[in-house]
Amino acid sequence: MATSQADARDRQFLAVIGDEDSVTGLLLAGIGHVTAPPDSQKNFLVVDNKTDNAAIEAAFDRFTTERKDIGIVLINQHIADRIRHRVDTHTAAFPTVLEIPSKDHPYDPEKDSVLRRVRRLFGE
């Protein structure tokens, strides 16, 4: 637990993988962050129909494993579905992966990997 405490303190950003509208809205709220120029990394990824799954996976991996300053990863549920196995295998406490609804895809609690874990825990 001691390591996770220290770990948690450094994480002060949110990251988002989503369609253009979700990302725009969340950036408007002010969560967007671009690191210093030499290797300026964005903490958001806009996904559309042309984005292939490998790119999404790479971004997901970057946000969840490589970067240590991200506490919450927001991902549109329909995009999470495209890399479902990746989302399901992410079981670490940090960063938290949160599936959010998008404009065109209403939220479906059945698909949410965390809610599925909740349900499995209680044997429903």
Binding site: M1, A8, R9, P101, V114
Partner: protein
């Protein structure tokens, strides 16, 4: 009591019986406490996650509606502009600790960093009001999301804790308690056995003593009878001598009286 039964390696003494009884009591108390703990953990967290997820759905819906308003008011997509003008996060999170029945849970707290406003120019031409409103709506939405994220993190950590607690509960219920009970049974049976042995031994000793007493009694009786007989015969002799009156002094010397 079969010897194959699972029990602890103790000597069957009264002291270890006491220890085992104390242990059983401790195990039962611990079991009920742990069970209550695991129930409390699960109940508190799942209800809150469920509520927060529902709330998130509503909030995100309102937020995307407000974004649609912005798109309409600005008269074009502002996504590209916003993505390009993003530099530094205004909306950040901070982790703090929360204690839920002895488990330290990290919780996120949202805060707004002062001073940087990346979107000062957004909506300057038109739709500024809508943009402002949209930002507020999304800020509220993100706050709800952060809250949900803390719950989710808490759940992931609690999940582990609950598993550990449940494992302990099961271990106590299915291993420690039966084993301790077995040990108590074993000690009791051994002690009973010892008791019976002891009782039998005492009975034996008592019988032996009785026999010895009877023997000595008989011997004493025999001795007494012998003495009686001797005394009688002596008396008889005395009578005979008395019958012939004699001068005691005249008689030859008396035998010495020995006390």
């Amino acid at each position: 009591m079969s010897g194959a039964a699972d029990r602890e390696a103790v000597f069957p003494t009264r002291q270890s019986l006491g220890i085992m009884k104390a242990k059983l009591k401790g195990a039962e108390t611990g079991h009920s406490l742990l069970k209550r703990k695991s129930e409390a953990l699960t109940k508190s967290i799942t209800r809150r996650i469920d509520e927060a997820k529902r709330k998130m759905g509503r909030v995100m819906q309102i937020a995307s509606l407000s974004l649609a308003e912005v798109t309409y008011a600005v008269g074009g997509n502002i996504g590209y502009q916003i993505q390009e003008s993003t530099k530094s996060a205004r909306f950040r999170i901070r982790a703090k600790q929360e204690n839920v029945s002895g488990v330290l849970l990290p919780a996120f707290e949202a805060y707004q960093a002062e001073g940087n406003d990346d979107f000062a120019m957004t909506g300057l031409g038109k739709g500024g009001q809508q943009v402002q409103r949209c930002r507020e709506t999304y800020a509220r939405a993100v706050e709800a999301l952060v809250e949900l994220a803390s719950l989710q993190t808490a759940f992931v950590i609690l999940d582990e804790v609950i598993k550990v607690v449940n494992r302990r509960v099961n271990a106590i219920e299915h291993v420690i308690i039966p084993r301790t009970e077995n040990t108590i049974k074993y000690i009791n049976s051994e002690l009973d056995e010892l008791d019976r042995e002891e009782f039998y031994r005492l009975k034996k000793v008592a019988a032996k003593k009785q026999r010895d007493n009877a023997e000595t009694d008989a011997q004493m009786k025999a001795k007494k009878a012998e003495q009686q007989r001797l005394a009688d015969s002596e008396n008889a002799e005395g009578e005979q001598t008395e019958n012939t009156p004699a001068d005691i002094l005249a008689a030859e010397e008396d035998e010495d009286v020995i006390f």
